[in-house]
């Protein structure tokens, strides 16, 4: 029954790990060939892999785990997917209905534990309702603002036979608004026509809305000539090579992007949520702009920043309407204002905020990423990351030309996300080049997935920028805690080459900048999984940086700026 429901939902892959409470479902899996099961090595890995699958395909990721510890191990992944709005359907086994509440072996209150970290969840106590709930789960996960859902299925319900229902999403009572209000859209168009210093601030919502949203966004940007910046989650919706691209904004965003946000007179937020990594000090955030906000989730609007033109709806649907109204009114913009605005931006760009001191002795992490970019950018490429400095450098130094090509843990900042996510991406795109840009500490958090990689022959490339430090933590300790590096170095690191060897993967060690290109080529030319241990400068800091509690125009650009910049108030922030 469960497998039939998954098939009817078009599922081709399930990431999972078996256990007593899901044995009946595993038995069904055994007796069919249409759905592929990827056996991970830890349930957290299953959820992140499903996230990678979902993020790179636009389809929901599916996870199957057992009760108790299987379910609790999935919690981090669920929370990650909730914060980044990734559609997942997680099926958990549960002890039989007649034992629920008795502290049975491997019993946990799964729906209770996961209530705050799922978009919705269900405990199914009646086999007749099972198929209907699974179909509804797919509908809820993928409709409106996407997110993870969980269906908890007691073992007796799995064993029993019941009536099977076909999917019927039209019968669902969950139908969020997708069409934007025309009056507000007209107001936005009028603002676009007159604005002197407009900027688009786009986020993961554009990517979640689907490829059509990115296409319409590009059309609108090209047609209006309005500069565009994006959050970490939104990279790729507008191409990095595009004429109006400002680069990423936020705490480690580009100078020109943050300055444009600060100085603009019209801020058009699309599928972005004014996260604290983006806004910095809230009462100094974009102080002189009219703010328009397109979002499918009404609770995102006015949550953090007061919005003047709220538009609740699906990004693609709304953008189509914006374009058609704008064209029908004569495709006007404030040409004179825009020309001046662009030359202002060109001045900011001249600062060259990503400049760093090169070295011929050690590999600078920025240099490693520049070379990785140069040697891979023309390939059919997907990038995942872990969390830390390397993640921010990857966002700064790699260029994303298309949506769904960049998988990173934004909202939750989950170390250990990238490796399993790269597995999910590779499963979905077997022929593509899948690279996980990692920090050594993050990578170790889910390194057990090496077993999955070799078992399923997944040629993922683990590009580890190994600074032997919890680099981002160390950077904060340097700036905020008087250079007292409390527990922020990676001691007793494994020999990554030997580790790769032990699992049957290829290991490459590189520490000399002169060898880097050859080593990267060796990684790319190897038809199989590679762990690339790139020993980089240990105390490099990631700039630009907006310190916590500071405004966009108080950005630090380099080492010289960092003396005593974060005061005691700022230091309580994370």
């Amino acid at each position: 029954m469960v497998i039939q429901a998954l098939k009817d939902q078009g599922v081709d892959t399930v990431f999972g790990y078996p256990g007593g409470a899901v044995l009946p479902i595993y038995d069904e899996i055994f007796q069919q060939n249409e759905i592929r099961h990827i056996l991970v090595r830890h349930e957290q890995g299953a959820v992140h892999a499903a996230e990678g699958y979902a993020r790179s395909t636009g389809k929901p990721g599916v996870v199957l785990v057992t009760s108790g510890p299987g379910a609790t191990n999935a919690v981090t992944g669920l929370t990650d997917a909730l914060l980044d709005s990734i559609p997942l359907v997680v099926l958990t086994g549960q002890v039989p209905t007649f034992m629920i509440g008795s502290d049975a072996f491997q019993e946990a209150d799964t729906v209770g534990i996961t209530r705050p970290c799922t978009k919705h969840n269900w405990l199914v106590k009646d086999t007749d309702k099972l198929s209907g709930v699974i179909h509804e789960a797919f509908h809820v996960a993928t409709t409106g603002r996407p997110g993870p859902v969980l269906v908890d299925i007691p073992k007796d319900v799995q064993f029993a036979t019941g009536a099977y229902k076909k999917p019927a999403p039209e019968k669902s009572t969950y139908n969020p608004q997708v069409k934007g209000d025309n009056e507000s859209i007209a107001e936005l168009v009028a603002a676009i026509e007159t604005a002197k210093k407009p900027v688009f601030y786009t986020g993961g919502g554009v990517i979640n809305s689907g490829p059509e949203a990115s296409r319409l966004l590009r059309e609108l940007v090209e047609a209006t000539g309005i500069p565009i910046t994006s959050t970490l989650m939104g990279l790729g919706a507008y191409p990095a090579s595009g004429k109006h691209w400002l680069g990423m904004l936020g705490m480690h965003g580009l100078y020109e992007a943050n300055m444009a946000m600060h100085d603009c007179d019209l801020l058009i937020a699309i599928g972005s949520r004014f996260d604290d990594r983006i806004t910095g000090k809230i009462d100094a955030f974009s102080p002189r702009s009219v703010k328009a906000h397109i979002d499918i989730d009404p609770s995102s609007i006015n949550k953090v920043v007061r919005c003047d033109i709220p538009i609740v709806g699906d990004v693609a649907t709304v953008l189509e309407e914006v374009l058609s109204i704008w064209k029908s009114r004569g495709s006007k913009t404030n040409a004179e204002g825009l020309t001046r605005w662009r030359s202002k931006i060109a001045e900011w760009k001249k600062i060259n905020c990503l400049a760093y001191n090169g070295s011929t002795k050690t590999i600078k992490p920025q240099y490693a990423l520049e070379r990785l970019e140069a040697l891979t950018k023309d390939r059919d490429r997907y990038i995942c990351t872990e969390v830390g400095q390397h993640q921010m450098w990857a966002a700064q130094f790699l260029g994303f030309e298309d949506p769904n090509r960049w998988m990173t843990s934004g909202g939750l900042g989950t170390m250990g996300y990238g490796f399993p996510a790269s597995i999910g991406v590779q499963i979905a795109h077997p022929e593509a080049l899948v690279i996980n840009v990692a920090g050594e500490a993050s990578w170790l958090m889910n390194m057990q997935e090496l077993g999955t990689v070799t078992q399923f022959d997944l040629p993922v490339k683990q590009f580890i920028l190994n600074n032997e430090r919890l680099g981002m933590v160390r950077q904060w300790q340097e700036l905020l805690h008087g250079e007292r590096y409390s527990h922020s170095w990676s001691e007793s690191l494994p020999d990554f080459v030997k580790l790769a060897d032990a699992f049957g993967a290829k290991g490459i060690l590189c520490k000399d900048p002169a060898d880097l290109d050859d080593a990267i080529m060796e990684m790319l030319n190897h038809d199989g999984p590679v762990i690339f241990d790139c020993l980089v400068e240990k105390h490099e800091n990631c700039f630009p940086m907006i310190p916590s509690g500071k405004a966009h125009n108080e950005m630090l650009l380099g080492e010289a700026d960092t003396q005593g910049v974060i005061d005691s108030k700022g230091s309580v922030l994370v």
Partner: protein
């Protein structure tokens, strides 16, 4: 490298103090939330309030439509206008929530609460308790030689007032239902 002037000294607001520029005058709102009557739905609503740090001043819940499987939750909450807006939007996001109504802004609402008060005492105090109960139109629902249980329906303020008067007369226990509210008119 940068020509930027970086100001030193304390900043007035942190990025986590998310609503510093909004009006900070707190308002009291009564919300009526229609939810699907399914297990855990109340936990979802309460979890939202505790998880996001909102106030609950009063909460009542009961099934109101058996065939439609709908329950009505009436919540009285206080917060700044932006917090109230967030609460409504967040409630609206819960998949099992069908409708959210802010009775405080949608029109004038009738609000009623039921309470039972146990008053123990003898002699003059007992007579006085009965007399006051009559003034408040409270009913006697249980009586012994040394105690009464009164039932009263009314606004929370009226119940507060009665309780205040009963306290010196031997109020020993009070049970209140929380507020139920409906919009006036049609």
């Amino acid at each position: 490298m940068s020509a930027l002037h970086i100001k030193k000294g304390s900043t007035s607001h942190s990025a986590y103090n998310l609503r510093p520029t909004f009006s900070d005058v707190e308002e009291r709102h009564t919300l009526a939330v229609l939810v699907e009557n399914e297990p855990g739905v109340l936990a979802r609503v309460i979890g939202l309030f505790s998880g996001r740090g909102y106030n609950i001043d009063s909460l009542t819940v009961a099934e109101v439509d058996h065939t439609g499987h709908l329950s009505r939750i009436t919540i009285v909450t206080t917060g700044t206008p932006q917090v109230i807006e967030q609460i409504k939007a967040q409630l609206g996001r819960i998949v099992s929530v069908r409708e959210v109504h802010d009775l405080t802004v949608e029109g004038r609402a009738v609000e009623r609460e039921l309470a039972m008060l146990k008053v123990a005492g003898q002699g003059d105090k007992r007579v006085e308790a009965l007399r006051i109960a009559e003034i408040f139109r409270a009913k006697v629902v249980d009586s012994t030689l040394s105690s009464f249980v009164f039932e009263i329906t009314g606004t929370p303020e009226k119940i507060d007032a009665l309780a205040d008067l009963m306290r010196p007369l031997g109020l020993v226990e009070i049970a209140r239902t929380g507020i139920a509210a409906l919009l006036r008119g049609d």
